[in-house]
Symmetry: C2
Subunit: 159 residues, 2 copies
Amino acid sequence: MSRVRSAVQEEIRQSRPFSSPSEEGVVALVRTADLLRRALTGVVEPHGITLQQYNVLRILRGAGPEGLPTLEIAGRMIEHAPGVTRLVDRLQAKGLVRRQRSTEDRREIRCRIAAEGLDLLARLDGLMQDAAREFMSPLDAEALDRFIRDLDALRAAIT
Amino acid sequence: MSRVRSAVQEEIRQSRPFSSPSEEGVVALVRTADLLRRALTGVVEPHGITLQQYNVLRILRGAGPEGLPTLEIAGRMIEHAPGVTRLVDRLQAKGLVRRQRSTEDRREIRCRIAAEGLDLLARLDGLMQDAAREFMSPLDAEALDRFIRDLDALRAAIT
DNA sequence: CCAATTTACTTGACGCGTCATGTATTGTCG
DNA sequence: CGACAATACATGACGCGTCAAGTAAATTGG
């Protein structure tokens, strides 16, 4: 049952092993996601946007020319509204996004991706694909599929 | 090969499926880690510290009474020094950590966990264990072990 | 039909992560 | 030995995430 010192244990250089496999999993998950985030940030930042800004642009591209109200963007990222407001502020300042108060419901603000935003995404699509493939390359197709299912199961269990 | 719409696809509500399993894996990984981080934050914050502050305290407890220099803490988290300096600033302000310039090498600052910090950790140990177990509960022992190995493999591949 | 509630945001404050830059101390090598 | 590089940090600036509180518009209930 007890395995050789895992990679996480080596990294943390703690003599004491994890007190449980669950804890080891939790730490491994957070650390791996951190490294991934950094790798993806490295792809996107040279093009003048952050990873979160990239995510918003992708969501808006997916939404089409109708655009989306702010809260809807927040919902699709798992994020809270205040962060999104400011995120879109910066995207607008860069001319990648346009905002316009909705006419039917004047509380809503519809955010649309601008042509410049689409251009930027077009340039980033391939690079992000490559980065994702590269990062996941240690897992073969079968392992990757199982891995994704496991992650799905973990998220699904959150009450 | 193509599966039914996965959980991530549902969550993002994007009609277009992921352009590749790698991309799906990347998104699933980041989103899952985000939710985990939030869950753990929920455990720790009622006790007056943040998740990162908790991590530092754990590292310092693991280091024993000798303490650690700032950069060594940064190394054990995967983080850069500037963040750690301020992190420890706040822990010190709360009286959970003490700092003292080293005498052998006067550039170094040794950080030690204070008795109050140890007390706090003692109160949190069980709660964090429970949270980890709870979060990982969808995976049985075998799946969890495989899951951890997969994560280890992903991190190990980073150049 | 209007007061109370709800919804969709926005703003302020604070902790965190990151880069660039600055400072003190130590190591090095010519 | 002394200039110069390297090391260990600290600080400033900026983007992000989160909570609490505020504003404006729509909805609802009496």
